[in-house]
């Protein structure tokens, strides 16, 4: 593999690993270590082959996590809530795309200008309510679409990806279990970072 390919895969696994960090008690250098091992073993290529390119959801969350790891977390449940939002967003998209039942939401992402405007308005609204993470996510997704940075021209592909949705699902499960077992023995998602 050439160096650029290797660096791309390293960055990919770094971002994916960092995205998973909020749901486990973390060692801050763990994402770097995981990414290094993944590239060394060739697992990173398989991971990228399976999941494709990352969206703004994973990238913004990973950067947010890395920055917060350095400067300190103000709201320790923020990332978990964010990933749950990604999962909720992805759920109807994946359902309609995998089953062919109902309106083709993914097709909207190719060509509905009003859909893009709605995303912009929601992003503005989120920031006005101090939900910077959501605002940055939506702004980054629209930016990726506007400058054609990804392989896809679909807005959805700039906004959500399967790894981020998977993290969202896992945080739902862990959060649900922790709510049921609120005796302190389980790792609360909101405290886990």
């Amino acid at each position: 593999m050439n160096w650029t390919g290797m660096m791309a895969e390293f960055a990919f696994v770094l971002v994916v690993s960092a995205a998973f960090m909020p749901i486990c008690r973390g060692w801050r250098l763990l994402p770097v270590l995981v990414a290094g091992i993944a590239v060394f073993t060739g697992f990173s290529g398989m991971l990228r082959a399976v999941f494709g390119d990352l969206s703004a959801a994973s990238m913004v969350a990973a950067i947010w996590f890395i920055v917060r790891s350095v400067v300190g977390f103000r709201d320790r449940g923020e990332l978990s809530r964010f990933f749950r939002l990604i999962f909720i967003t992805a759920l109807p998209l994946y359902f309609t795309s995998l089953t062919g039942i109902g309106p083709d939401l993914y097709a909207l992402g190719f060509g509905a200008w009003w859909y893009v405007v709605i995303i912009g308005i929601v992003g503005l609204w989120a920031v006005m309510l101090d939900s910077w993470l959501i605002g940055l996510w939506l702004a980054s997704g629209l930016f990726l679409t506007a400058v054609d940075l990804g392989e896809s021209s679909n807005v959805w592909d700039s906004l959500v990806d399967a790894p981020a949705a998977a993290v969202g699902l896992i945080t739902w499960v862990v959060f649900g279990v922790s709510r049921l077992r609120a005796d302190g023995k389980w790792c609360f998602v909101e405290r886990s970072v």
Partner: protein, 408 residues
């Protein structure tokens, strides 16, 4: 700082708002027409306005078949073919030790104008090369589909990185020297869920203005047909729209034939045990809205691929496996009403027609591909017992001449 209704508007928020408006406008300007009908392009855009010369099809003899695939691979399947500007025929298929093996490559072979034999096959896409181009490990290669648009030859093909065929993605490469050399492959992103489970089988339709309509199908969780609108005018081809044929569960491998007046009909392979018939879906608005797939009369479909071609007038020729199970009979039928009623032409290949094959454990004449050339010749390609790709020129008669003879 401005406070309004509990919302504090700070300088960072105002700055962000400005950027948000900019990226929103930028993204909105990048949006395209999401489906075929909305783009003003129709599936009939490149159909000859004057119409094709109506043809009557006669049954070919399998003894006249030419071997396309040579002996480069023990197992071959899924042929696709185009007519070159020189009027030669160029065929593509995948071959290797077995379907799904890591040594499978996509091969091509040329039948020059006037030639009686196909050229020695050469590799068009090898798995390792595709993997390098795409920057991803690939486990196997699958169905190729070739399309000639003006002087550029496009080759779409299926690849799998993990899992079975339901984990497929579609890739594309192109050649400006009619298959001698190929551009690096690139991936088409057609699905939001990790871009998996989109496969290709039927020919693309040139929409004009550098756009193609590519019939594809989905196989993960459920199976259904779709049509991708692909922009091939840029540096790299990209999917710019997607239309799902509604209620098409359990139907795959759409083969689209344009009809006069902007309509089109899609012939579909039916999977599963219920309604084992060839299915059809129709559109009258150029591909924007499709009807729910219904059986095409009582034409059998043992979960096998079909191919169709416009015979001119209202007639469409269909190649299909006319059996309840298995693929040991490849037949031809003609419809003059978009797939409602059919006239069976006959069986091209079956056990009785080739008694020398009785030693074969399992006869298979499958994955047909039909092609009409500019000169009006009809060509049938198909997989022959997974060991060869065969080619038959189907004898035809002009229907006008026939009608003229009948006149008093």
């Amino acid at each position: 700082m401005v406070s309004s209704g509990g919302v504090r508007v700070t300088l960072p928020k105002m700055t962000f708002s400005g950027l948000m408006v900019l990226v929103t406008l930028g993204a909105a300007f990048k949006t395209r027409a999401p489906s075929l009908g909305d783009a003003g392009e129709t599936l009939a855009a490149t159909r000859p306005q004057a119409g094709l010369t109506p043809l009557r099809v006669l049954l070919p003899s399998p003894a006249d078949a030419l071997v396309v695939s040579g002996k480069v691979a023990p197992s071959v399947h899924a042929v696709s073919a185009v007519e070159l500007p020189s009027h030669g025929l160029l065929a593509f298929w995948f071959g290797g030790s077995r379907e799904g093996a890591s040594d499978v490559s996509i091969y091509s072979s040329l039948l020059s104008p006037g030639a009686q034999t196909w050229s020695a096959p050469q590799v068009a896409v090898a798995r390792r090369d595709a993997s390098r181009d795409l920057g991803r490990p690939l486990r196997k290669l699958g169905n190729p589909v070739a399309t000639m648009v003006e002087s550029r030859l496009w080759l779409f093909y299926v690849s799998v990185s993990v899992g079975g065929w339901s984990g497929s993605a579609i890739n594309v490469t192109w050649s400006d020297d009619f298959g001698e050399t190929w551009a690096p492959s690139c991936r088409l992103v057609s699905s939001p869920f990790a871009n998996i489970s989109t496969l290709v089988k039927g020919p693309a339709i040139d929409l004009g203005n550098g756009h193609l309509a590519l019939p594809v199908y989905h196989e993960m969780v459920t199976k259904f047909p779709q049509i991708l609108r692909i922009d091939c005018s840029g540096e790299k081809p990209r999917v710019e729209g997607r239309t799902t044929i509604p209620g098409g569960e359990k139907t795959i491998q759409p083969w689209i034939v344009s009809c006069p007046g902007g309509g089109a009909v899609a012939f579909l392979r039916r999977t599963g045990d219920r309604q084992p018939f060839v299915h059809v879906s129709r559109t009258s608005d150029g591909g924007g809205i499709w009807s729910r797939p219904v059986p095409a009369g009582k034409l059998a479909n043992p979960n096998a691929s079909v191919a169709a071609v416009d015979l001119g007038g209202e007639d469409i020729l269909l190649a299909f496996n006319d059996t309840d199970s298995g693929r040991d009979d490849l037949s031809l039928a003609v419809t003059g009403d978009g797939g409602v009623s059919w006239q069976l032409i006959g069986s091209v290949e079956n056990e009785s027609r080739r008694p020398e094959e009785k030693g074969e454990k399992r006869l298979e004449y499958s994955y047909p591909w039909l092609l009409r050339t500019e000169a009006g010749e009809i060509h049938l390609f198909y997989t022959w017992n997974r060991r060869q790709i065969r080619h038959l020129k189907i004898p035809t008669q002009k229907r006008e001449a026939e009608a003229g003879r009948k006149e008093p």
